[in-house]
């Protein structure tokens, strides 16, 4: 059997497991089978060679799959993030009456996510994108209470907005390229206004998924509402789907890339700074973590701007973006699991261990010198310095963003400090958090690959940095919150100022419809008859 079969199997296996478990005799075992769904994906990431491709064509179903170095990185962190959440979910939902339904939907969303990562053509990619987005709606509303349904509506509204932006963009790209392969679409963008519109639609549509301002507000609304394992993958893995879309589809240069780059810089700055400030004013740990993800999207947007400004730096820039995405995915998944584990830890030794892991995770994410976040940052610096228009402003921007990240992570530690809740976590959830944290903190040192190479030795500063960070955490914990901001800033601002998001048409359409079925309908018929007769005879006479 061809090893390339692993590519489609990676995405199909979770879906098949979900369906067979939901409908078939495996039903009681489905929660335990959730991690098994990732085996083909992990095997593909580990063993398939670069450039492994699979394609299948039957009727209108043309599907192409590809594992290149970029998709391998994405596949690794996506699969690991889902694996952590799946394992944590086994414990988290141990006694939940609807755990089978959760596992089924979780597996389907997982399949969609893996599908879009490995897809090499537009239809397969869009299939994965839609499958993941719609299945995740069920994850968001899983708790079936009013906040969950509110979050579900916000989430769904933005998903739909994203879909109707991405879909025409893809179709236009496929028309231009006369091919549905993503690589062809990316290479053959024109310079006409229609191409520009398509490119902008794709940029914004994927931006919604990635949490780009001003479409970021679904993250802090949806993440607190969803069960924690679902938040972990929403924030860790799924928002990277937008980044994959940017990297795969936006033009690699040319006149249309320039304005896009400017927009990416501006929106990136807004994400980086705004996300940090809004995050500091949160009281719910998951909302705060959602804002840190918005900040991370800002960094990724700056990376995108770099690849758009300097096509020559594109390989290095994409490597940097993917490295940062991997770093963020593992850290964020682990931090979300910390919300489920850390507050409920009991016992002196366990509590000490939880403190150690939590602080290590937060410090590593915050970019304390010598830890993983710092390695990612150091790798990005020379790239930004080499890009002409960015090198002026960016050091300040990144410094400000970094400072805000220090504060927000310290606030995370304050909000989920071990022992603050009586709800004891399940040992399996505990263990998955522990493994995830170790993986996140130590992985960059193990890889030593392109995105994490550091020039000078940062470890001399590490003890000093860690000490400062601990003091900062202590200070932030003592520091009272000046004012709390509701999660989903813009959304609440809009409702507060009287802008009602859904236009309320009242009963008028129903009344008009009733009129249309009465005499008005007869009048419409007559009018239509006259119009058609008039138009058709006009066509003859003139």
């Amino acid at each position: 059997m061809n090893p390339e079969w692993l590519l489609p199997l990676s995405a199909v296996a979770p879906i098949v497991i979900a369906l067979s478990g939901w409908l078939g005799p495996l039903r009681p075992a489905l929660p335990f089978l959730t991690p098994v769904g990732l085996v083909p994906a992990l095997a593909a990431a580990a063993w398939l060679p670069d450039g492994a491709a699979f394609s299948f064509q039957k009727g209108h179903l043309e599907t192409a799959w590809l594992l290149d170095p970029a998709s391998r990185t994405v596949l690794w962190f996506t699969a690991l993030g889902w694996l952590l959440a799946a394992c944590a979910g086994v414990g988290y939902f141990r006694r939940h009456p609807r755990r089978v339904s959760f596992s089924a939907v979780f597996l389907i969303a997982m399949g969609g996510n893996l599908l879009l990562v490995l897809a090499a053509d537009a239809v397969t990619f869009y299939t994965g994108f839609a499958l993941m987005s719609f299945a995740s709606w069920a994850l968001v509303v899983f708790d079936a209470n009013d906040p969950a349904f509110f979050a579900g509506r916000v989430y769904l509204g933005l998903v739909l907005l994203g879909e109707i932006m991405v879909f025409p963009g893809l179709v236009k790209g496929a028309v231009l390229a006369d091919s549905t392969l993503l690589a062809d679409i990316q290479a053959r963008w024109g310079t006409d206004p229609a191409s520009a519109v398509a490119i902008w639609l794709l940029f914004l549509g994927f931006g919604i998924k990635a949490g780009m301002a001003p479409f970021h507000f679904w993250l802090p609304v949806a993440h607190p509402a969803a069960p924690t394992p679902a938040s972990a993958v929403l924030s860790g893995c799924m928002i990277k789907a937008g980044v994959v879309g940017w990297i795969r589809l936006l033009p690699t240069g040319g006149p249309l890339a320039e304005p896009l780059a400017v927009a990416a810089v501006c929106l990136g700055a807004v994400n980086l700074l705004g996300g940090g400030v809004a995050g500091l004013l949160q009281t719910h740990p998951k909302a705060l973590l959602a804002y840190t993800s918005i900040q991370a999207s800002g960094t990724l947007l700056l990376g995108l701007a770099l690849t758009l400004f300097e096509p020559s730096l594109r390989p290095a820039g994409v490597g940097m973006m993917l490295g940062y995405a991997a770093f963020h995915a593992l850290h964020k998944a682990s931090l979300f699991l910390a919300v489920a584990v850390s507050p409920g830890v009991t016992g002196p030794w366990k509590r000490r261990l939880a403190w150690l892991v939590l602080l290590a995770l937060a410090a590593s994410y915050a970019g304390v010198p010598g830890l993983a976040g710092d390695l990612a940052k150091q790798a990005a610096k020379p790239l930004f310095a080499a890009t002409e228009p960015l090198s002026v402003l960016l050091p300040y921007l990144l410094a400000a963003g970094g400072f805000l990240t220090l504060l927000t992570t310290a606030r995370v530690v304050a909000l989920i400090r071990p022992g603050s809740s009586a709800h004891a976590p399940h040992p399996v959830t505990w263990l998955s958090w522990l493994v995830g944290a170790c993986l996140a903190v130590l992985w960059p040192f193990a890889v030593q690959g392109a995105p994490f190479v550091v020039t000078d030795d940062p470890f001399t500063w590490a003890p000093f940095g860690v000490a400062c960070y601990l003091i900062l955490c202590w200070l932030v914990r003592r520091w009272p919150l000046p004012v709390a901001m509701p999660p989903g800033d813009v959304l609440h601002l809009a409702t507060k100022t009287g802008v009602r998001p859904p236009p309320d048409l009242g009963l008028r359409p129903l009344q008009w419809e009733a009129a249309l079925s009465g005499p008005a309908g007869a009048a419409a018929l007559l009018l239509l008859l006259l119009v058609m007769l008039g138009l058709l005879s006009r066509a003859i006479l003139f």
Binding site: W22, K58, G59, H60, L61, R98, S101, V123, Y126, T127, A130, L131, F134, W137, A138, V141, A144, N145, F149, G152, R153, L156, L160, E163, I164, F167, P168, V171, K172, A174, V175, A194, L505, L507, P509, L510, E513, L516, S517, G521, A524, L525, L528, L529, V531, M532, L533, L535, L536, S537, R538, A539, I540
Partner: protein, 504 residues
Amino acid sequence: MMPASVAVPLPVLVPLVLALGALLCPAAWLRWGARIGALACAAAPLPGVRLILSHGPAEIALGGWETPLGIRLVLDGLSGLFLLFHSLVGAAVAWHAGSIRPPPTDTPPRSSRPVPIFWPLFFLLWGGLNALVLSQDLFNLYVCLEFISLAGVGLILLSGSVGALRAAVNYLLLALLGGLLYLLGVGLLYSRTGVLDLEHLAAYLAPGLMLNAGLTFMMLGLMIKSALFPLHTWLPPAHAGAPAPVSALLSGLVISAAYLVVLRLWTSGFHRLAPEVLPRLFSVLGSAGIVWGGVLALRQDRLKRVLAYSTVSQTGYLFLVFALSGAETRSQGGVWAGSIYLAISHGLAKAGAFLAAGMLMQRCGSDRLEDLRGAATAHPLPVALLGLAAATLMGLPPGLGFTGKWMLLDAAFQLEQWASGLMILVGGLLAAGYLMRVIERCFRTDPAATAPVPPSDRAGPMFPVLILVLAPFVLSWLLAGPDNLLRIGAPLDVPAWPGAESAP
């Protein structure tokens, strides 16, 4: 291989014979007999399709009378595809309805006396639909259309409620009006040309007052029958008031059959009469229908009414295609194939959705959206079936609905018809809005938390519904088949709009 003289009329004869048989059959045998008969009906087009796949389009002259005097039945790729589509939907609906005991009515048991008239009407409707797609003669098309409408009215009446009676009478009147308008148009055309057969007629079709007036009346009649905005108001009460299996047939098959007649006329020469005006009008009305149906579907409080207004909205898509016909698409049938795939995927998914709605209705007590609370936990399978149908109706990949939409959007972008492209997207957005609204309601918990109604025998089996809602996804893989089928006899081989050729 069966000769054409048998294979072509078989899809019409088998249902008609079965309709007669169902009238005479003892009630005790009817449940199984009807289901087996439905399978026979579903198999009836297969010899014909096999024949045209190997020998090209087949036709027979009824009674040996050649045209222009007699009537032809023509089996080309388009009719073959629609016959198979009718088979799939008809068999699934029959199998589902046959398992409901007593025969399908949506009213509570007190008025659910056995209604043996369901099966004769069902087979009559099926036979009429099959005859319609095989007809190539203006008057014969009229007879089939009326046949279908009358059978439809009878089926709606099975519901037995006052609302259904009112809806059925309304439907009857408008269907008759539509039929008469069509007949008036045919009369005008016949007075001018003296032929009714589409192939012969094509030679006489050049712009002229009489012919154009005839076309206008015919198209108006067909617009009523296919519920194009603003002539759609008969549809929602009729489709929502009928028993669920009947709604499935009416929404899934009857609407697309009326549309098929429009397409048939347009592609067999009538485009020469009004090369630009009519496509534009269809685009405007189709767009208005997409929005209007979608907005009203958002405002309904009953599941079946949501689905009925969704039919109004989805019909709008089909009429966008006339202005897009110049585009080069990668599919064999061109952009026409896109609209046919949309019609077929809509028919399959909508029939499945109505059957799923019927199942939910039996289990939750009513189809009020408020009563659907908690359905996702209490009755997950019908909700999942509804969700799958919704995915097709929204145009989510990789279903046939997505393929059709992609083809139309592709054509709209090539011709730079941004308005049509936008309407296709808006329609999808609205569909997602009204369908997700229903599904969200199913996910909500029930505040009253009544004990779940035990799934009754009356709800019917899942399996046929599953086939219907999965078919659009499977068909998009097998589309090489339909593509090849559509090429047989080149039924859709028409010049690009607005490149009107000069009159002969």
